[in-house]
Symmetry: C2
Subunit: 341 residues, 2 copies
Amino acid sequence: MRRFQSPRLLLLGFGNVGRRLVEILANPADYPGLADLGDVRLVGIVTRSHGATVDPGGLEPRRVLEDYGRNGGFRETLASDEALREIDYDVLVEMTPLDIPGRGAAAIAHVRAALESGRDAITCNKGPVAWAWRSLKELARERGRALVCETTVMDGVPVFNLVQRCLRGNTILRIEGILNSTTNYVLGEMERGASLESAVAGAQRLGVAEADPANDLEGWDAAVKVSALANVLLGADLPPEQVERESLLTVTPGRIQAAAARGVRLKVVCEAYPEDGRMVGKVNLREIPLSDPFALVSGTSSILRLTTDIAGKVVITEEDPDLSTTAYGVISDLFRVGEGR
Amino acid sequence: MRRFQSPRLLLLGFGNVGRRLVEILANPADYPGLADLGDVRLVGIVTRSHGATVDPGGLEPRRVLEDYGRNGGFRETLASDEALREIDYDVLVEMTPLDIPGRGAAAIAHVRAALESGRDAITCNKGPVAWAWRSLKELARERGRALVCETTVMDGVPVFNLVQRCLRGNTILRIEGILNSTTNYVLGEMERGASLESAVAGAQRLGVAEADPANDLEGWDAAVKVSALANVLLGADLPPEQVERESLLTVTPGRIQAAAARGVRLKVVCEAYPEDGRMVGKVNLREIPLSDPFALVSGTSSILRLTTDIAGKVVITEEDPDLSTTAYGVISDLFRVGEGR
């Protein structure tokens, strides 16, 4: 019998967010609101290059963190496809890194395998949402299972849930947001006079930018998020390759400072809206007046404006998120999976 | 048998928002998202001084609006307590005006009567939420009925739903917001040099302020909202009389302009948070730096910042609402009532 109260999780991938999630689960007394999440049990954590750990009876979260910390990884090795076949779990949490050149193929295969075997799936990997949402969602419906993805845009701040559960009855006419921390941080530094190179290096030192910042700077990460929003919230089937992108690499410090001198701020704005029967997706540099809350979104904060036909304009902002914010997205998805059972 | 798909509504009160709600229901083709709301039927609209109209088989929304518009009211007369006893309905929509001196007694009685007779209740009147939430919610639980109130704070922009359904598992540590349009509009005008009197008159001309603006200016409306937020989201039992209030009437134009000259904005900020085992509620004038999105909330817009233990700081903003935004709050509550059945 499937247990609503004791979902058994299989984590694929175990980066910063996964570790923070397990830290939260290891310290239930610190988070009284989690009492009604039920008895979440980790039955497997499987990584590509840092080993795997499996216990059908449930891994002890503190022990997992200690082992991983001491050894820089787990001792067992297990391939993800084997793990999906051989471990008995209830909910897949797909946390492997986004693979843009591969169009998310591995993560899509993981989610498909989970749903096909009658499991629920939480994807923190944006690949399945950007490139295969429609078919995966259809599969989830056929199997009567949940497929959710709250962390993929704005970390754990509710975006998908907000629309699907708190704005029911509205038609979403337009979505616009500032959704990529690296470009937002870099633009802020360049506005203060930094060169692109030193701003990127600063973002890397802070852990905001990845070692290879190209996906962020060229707008790919933002385009993937535009696809995710368009696919989940606007019913589109828009792959990131069809999202217009403007690269930050084309922007001169002069353009940024000229905008600041005119009292506006240059920001990388993501947009999605239907027009003439097709879905438009854009990642563009736009000049934002200081009277618009988009102008105030700095550093790692992000913002999303939803234009609806009945409720008007609703704006949600994530202020200074940390790893817990993103880990909360998985917790939010666990609640949602639990409600669906 | 109670019909999930065809809830029969009894409206008590029929002001601007009620009429806008009926206009929306009268034009389903304009709002495709409402298709899954089911076949909502109005079986009664009862006002205190503009008559009543009742049809157990369902009133025709267009006809209701025509009749009301032509005659400035309905022809029948019916007392609200009689209506609650004699009309067969499924969901009460309590839309009568807020009565602060009476501590919401009439609206509380309406909601209690509905719940006691096994009906669901939507209250747009803040009285039941501010002065009787705990006992009414307990009654609703006993009877297995819904009691919801989305319009009472920030119109139809999801506030209660956001916390209860999209931030589950978090403990809310602090709530702060700009929630009263009249004071916010008046402060903006005074910052631009207007006197208090002319700013209030301007707000009245725009329909932002009521004919008697005292409840807004003295912070009572905001205090009632603080109570609503504290009671529903923080589990408090805090009546508006226990919310600290600072009146706008004590503020000089000089203080406002001096703040502006220093590069900050004076705003009426609502707060609620637990401290030393008790609930603190405040409505205070605070100086807001221009880097805080609270500084950008002007006119009839409003904003709420939720500080949570796991997800961090989540801010939701309502931009330039109109009557549809508020009417949407009732629609949101109708969805929620339907989901509970």
